[in-house]
């Protein structure tokens, strides 16, 4: 079983997000970058599925050289080898196109992504890769099991869930529940340095979107505190002032 896990390099969850150059650039100064938390879940499940030498796990990232610490972390957690496509990740379409090109030349049985990157929150890369490769995809899965050539996944729907089954290969985006993220151990960290990390150059592709600028949400006003012994006042405020009940 050959599994490809797409990984992105994102600002740590607790980062204070600021912008520079007239709000047109994300200000990365002093920001700690991490392996996208959902990609950690994908990686953990891929390692479980290939446990005991039953296949391999390749991680792939579209990014510049500064993403390599994150790639090494994925290798330390247990990926077999890594590929970096040497380009700035322009948008989901650009990333998906590069990865799909790679997969066409190097087929896999299963391609996993995270459900979304915590910076752009697109939930797009998985479905775009699948469409480019003419494969089934499920964008947000909570469970994943493989039996022979078939994969069964559980996906969330509004107010419920759906269980789907289909023949491999497919592309799926993992969410909480699929696996518990793994923490690299000392041996993993040592061996990560020796594992292959192949750098390849991107292919040309037209792009269809540009981030023009960013905005930060307007701060909420000062909280209005209602005394615990006058709860009725809250109901009045919600009805008359906020008009939400």
């Amino acid at each position: 079983m050959k599994i490809l896990v797409c990984i992105s390099n994102v600002p740590d969850t607790t980062t204070k997000i600021t912008f520079s150059e007239n709000n047109t650039q994300f200000n990365a100064t002093g920001v700690q970058f991490i392996l996208n938390p959902y990609d950690e879940i994908a990686l953990a499940r891929a390692i479980e599925l290939t446990d005991g030498g039953n296949g391999s796990v390749t991680v792939i990232n579209v990014g510049e050289v500064n993403t390599e610490p994150t790639i090494r972390k994925a290798l330390a957690i247990g990926a077999t080898d890594a590929v970096r496509i040497n380009a700035k990740a322009h948008d989901a379409w650009f990333v998906a196109y590069q990865i799909a090109k790679y997969v066409k030349a190097n087929p896999f049985d299963l391609i996993l992504t995270g459900r979304e990157s915590i910076d752009y929150n697109g939930t797009k890369v998985a479905a775009m890769i699948a469409e480019l490769l003419d494969l089934p995809s499920v964008s947000i899965i909570k469970k994943l099991d493989i039996e022979g050539i078939n994969i069964t996944v559980e996906r969330e729907i509004e107010g419920g869930k759906e269980v789907l089954t289909m023949p491999l290969p497919i592309v799926a985006g993992t969410a909480e529940g699929v696996a518990e993220p793994k923490i690299p151990n000392m041996r993993g960290i040592m061996s990560a340095r020796a594992k292959p990390l192949t750098v390849i150059e991107p292919v040309e592709v037209k792009t269809f979107s540009e981030v023009v600028s960013y905005e930060t949400p307007a701060p909420r006003g000062q909280v209005k505190l209602v005394p615990a012994d006058d709860v009725g006042k809250l109901v009045v405020l919600l009805h008359e002032e906020a008009r939400v009940i």
Binding site: T13, T14, I17, F19, P37, A92, W93, A96, D119, N121, G122, T123, K124, A127, M128, A130, E131, P136, S137, V138, S139, I140, E156, I157, E158, G159, G160, K161, E162, V163, L164, T165, M166, A175, E176, K206, F208, S209, E210, V211, V212, S213, Y214, E215, T216, P217, R220, V223, K224, L225, V226, A228, V231, G232, L234, V235, L238, A242, V244, I245
Partner: protein
């Protein structure tokens, strides 16, 4: 540039998020004085379909094909792309629901269209550009994304655009494009839908509980409060991790993102990962016994007090208000 809107149904019925998408698509069509066609796939009756006219659709393409009864994104994307070609649509709108998120990117690839996911307002068409605002950095910012391609796909974030009723009925037309067998290899084994409850991503009001509620046995009052308000239930991550509540109720960065009119947080500290999923709520009420809980910093209204004292009082006050209303 004609507009096409994909109208998602659940068991033959359209939901509020679908009406939002149609109203939003209507407004985009009006920006350009053009037509709006809707496409529906599955088992939906003619009255329900024609009713989309109320929200501004002029025509509805009805795809009723046994093989397409249930949602399979690969096949549905092919059908929607065909419909877009048929009506010459350059803008395709859908709801950023769970299914919509699996569908929009595939339609984008088929039509070589830029995809704006999770739009929160109408596109800005000034200066001849097409700029869509979407939430980014897990709710901590918005990104203004310009779609530079001729075709454009926009998925609308639920609860960010008001349903507008214009009051006419739409013409319903059958549409039967061919579907490739290779697009239908997915088999749906099971669909579980709890119809008795308000669906969390669509809810106008959400009542949410955290670890401060001590255990699952204390959710009775939370459910009662939600029931009184017609609200959906939610919880923080540790609550679902501990199995007090189902994972489908977990909101936040790793759970569901919600943006209701009213979010009531009970016994939740307000960690940044929790706020990521709820900070775009219009009004936030926090009930917490610790006056220094970070949640109060982003709340509109707050009560510093013990939930086991405050919530029953709140239930009583709402009952009283309802009785007098």
């Amino acid at each position: 540039m004609p507009v096409l809107v994909y109208t998602e149904n659940a068991e033959g019925k359209f939901k509020k998020s679908t009406f939002e998408a149609v109203s939003y698509a209507r407004a985009i069509a009006d920006q350009n004085n053009t037509t709006l066609t809707a496409i529906s796939i599955g088992d939906v009756n003619t009255t329900e379909l024609a009713g989309l006219g109320k929200y501004g659709a002029e025509k509805v393409l009805n795809v009723s094909n046994g093989k397409l009864k249930n949602f399979i994104n690969q096949a549905y994307a092919a059908v929607v792309a065909e419909a877009a070609k048929k009506v010459g649509a350059e803008v395709i709108v859908l709801s950023n629901s769970f299914s919509g998120r699996g569908l929009a990117p595939r339609i984008g690839v088929k039509l070589e269209a830029g995809v704006a996911d999770g739009a929160v307002s109408l596109p800005d068409r000034s200066l001849g550009k097409f700029i869509v605002k979407k939430s980014a950095f897990s709710g901590k910012a918005f990104a203004l994304v310009e779609l530079t391609s001729a075709n454009k796909v926009i998925s609308l974030s639920p609860n960010s655009y008001k349903v507008v009723e214009t009051g006419s009925t739409a013409a319903v037309e059958d549409f039967n494009p061919d579907v490739k067998a290779s697009d239908l290899t997915t088999i749906i084994k099971e669909i579980v839908r709890s119809t008795d409850k308000v669906s969390l991503p669509d809810a106008d009001i959400v009542v949410s509980g955290g670890r401060g509620l001590k255990g699952p046995e204390n959710w009775g009052m939370v459910e009662e409060l939600a029931g009184l308000l017609g609200a959906a239930l939610a919880c923080s991550k540790p609550v679902s991790d501990s199995g007090w509540r189902p994972h489908s109720e977990h909101v936040g960065q790793t759970g569901i993102a919600v943006s209701p009119n009213l979010y009531i947080a009970i016994g939740i500290s307000g960690a940044i990962q929790h706020l990521a999923g709820v900070s775009s709520s219009k009004v936030i009420v926090v009930i917490n016994k610790d006056a220094d809980a970070p949640f109060f910093k982003v709340a509109d209204y707050g009560i510093v007090g013990d939930a086991f004292d405050v919530v029953p009082k709140l239930i009583a006050a709402i009952k009283e208000y309802k009785a007098s209303a």
